[in-house]
């Protein structure tokens, strides 16, 4: 089953925070990662605000034995 895109993006954002807090942090890479984080946050916001639910009532009748 395809992993929830928003969930994947949130997890990626969490990983970025971990990187910024870790020993691997470098100024050289930080700017690129920060810009990527901004893009990710924007995508999450767009998806959350725009995407809708789909409701389908099953045609099958459940009152027939």
């Amino acid at each position: 089953m395809k992993k929830n895109d928003i969930q994947s993006k949130i997890e990626e954002l969490d990983k970025m925070i971990e990187w910024f807090e870790s020993d691997q942090f470098s100024i050289n890479d930080a700017l690129i990662k920060y810009e990527k984080a901004e893009i990710l946050a924007g995508e999450i916001k767009t998806e959350l605000n725009e995407i809708k639910n789909k409701v389908t009532v099953i045609k099958k009748r459940f009152d027939e034995s």
Partner: protein
């Protein structure tokens, strides 16, 4: 009046035909008495009121509630004259009625199913974090269903809800709900969670969710189940058997899906934190750079100072060896041959003198 002459069997058959035509199914309310189970499969009891009594029969597998003498029930049954001439009701469905009977039936069944381990916490599964596909079992006419869908839409998007429209009260409700659960469990494309919801109601209305077969179906569902039966106080056996219970249909939506407002705030906070960490590290690096520059500057200054000191020392020494400095102290330079009567040049600090040598003697 002429009537046909019938044998006993024919009369019984004719009577049953008449009953089947006139009363194919009846609903009767009464009190249970003389309840017993024969050979582990046949259930017999009498249904009585203040002045009358009818014998009832049913198969044990159709008995989906706990029953004992004294309980008030409603039966859905077909009347019949047995070959032995006994009038009885063949019961298809039975449910307790009235608070006392419902409570009694509930307690008996709860005890039985608890002993079997159906309600153990170890059996409970986690619901998926953000499901993409959800099965809903509810009446689409019910207010509880509308509340559930509305709250779900407010909280999150991108979810596909497949709705099984069923009755959630009445004699046939439990069978319909079971059918819907079995449908979702056997479908080719499985949903990630099944939500069963209905709004609040009386004890009679909620008795559906104490049906033994329904409770077992929920316990055996291979898909995690979330039940939102709209009441705060009494818990039904179906809820005990489910993986998670919600207090109301709206609460079911809150449990099922995160609130996107919370997620958006969290994302904003995460971005701020990244920005803060970046800025903090940048400031730290700049401070470190400044410190390093200062150190280098100090070292250069010290080095220069040392060089200057050394240079001055050398200059002092050189100055000391400068012939002008020697001459300024009163010394003189003689140039020429030191023989008597020869002419020599004498250079002092300020004068150039020509002189004649009178005599030259060795110093002792």
């Amino acid at each position: 009046m002429e009537t046909n002459l019938l044998s006993v069997s024919d009369f019984i058959a004719l009577t049953n035909q008449t009953l089947e035509y006139a009363y194919p199914t009846v609903l009767i309310q009464g009190e249970v008495s003389s309840f017993n189970v024969n050979q582990g499969k046949f259930v017999f009891f009498d249904l009585k009121d203040n002045t009358g009594k009818i014998g009832c029969f049913m198969m044990l597998f159709n008995l989906r509630i706990a029953l004992e003498d004294g309980m008030k029930v409603i039966v859905q049954a077909s009347p019949k004259l047995t070959s032995l001439g006994k009038f009885s009701l063949t019961v298809q469905r039975i449910q307790p009625v009235g608070e006392g009977s419902i409570k009694k039936s509930f307690e008996l069944l709860k005890e039985k199913l608890t002993k079997e381990g159906l309600f153990d916490d170890a059996r409970k599964r986690q619901l998926p974090v953000i499901p993409k596909k959800v099965g809903v079992v509810s009446s689409t006419n019910a207010a509880g269903y509308a509340d559930f869908i509305k709250i779900s839409n407010d909280r999150w998007g991108g979810v596909e809800f497949l709705v099984a429209d069923v009755s959630v009260q009445g004699l046939s409700a439990s069978d319909q709900i079971i059918s819907a659960l079995e449908y979702f469990n056997s479908s080719d494309e499985l949903v990630e969670v099944i939500v069963v919801i209905r709004g609040g109601g009386s004890s009679d209305d909620l008795a559906v969710f104490n049906d033994e077969k329904l409770v077992r179906t929920i316990a055996l569902s291979r898909i995690p189940t979330l039940l939102g039966i709209g009441h705060e106080t009494d818990i039904t056996l179906a809820e005990l058997a489910s993986d998670r219970r919600a207090s109301t249909p709206s609460n079911a939506a809150q449990i099922l899906l995160p609130d996107k407002k919370d997620i958006l705030n969290s994302v904003r906070h995460k971005l701020s934190m990244i920005g803060y960490l970046y800025q903090t590290e940048l400031d730290r690096k700049l401070e470190h750079l400044n410190d390093s520059l200062k150190k280098v500057s100090n070292q250069i200054s010290n080095l220069l100072e040392n060089y200057l000191i050394s240079l001055n020392s050398k200059v002092d020494k050189l100055t000391a060896y400068n012939p002008s400095t020697v001459l300024s102290k009163g010394y003189a330079v003689l140039r020429g041959e030191l023989n008597p009567d020869s002419i020599i040049d004498i250079e002092t600090y300020k004068k150039l003198i020509k002189a004649k040598v009178i005599s030259v003697n060795e110093k002792k």
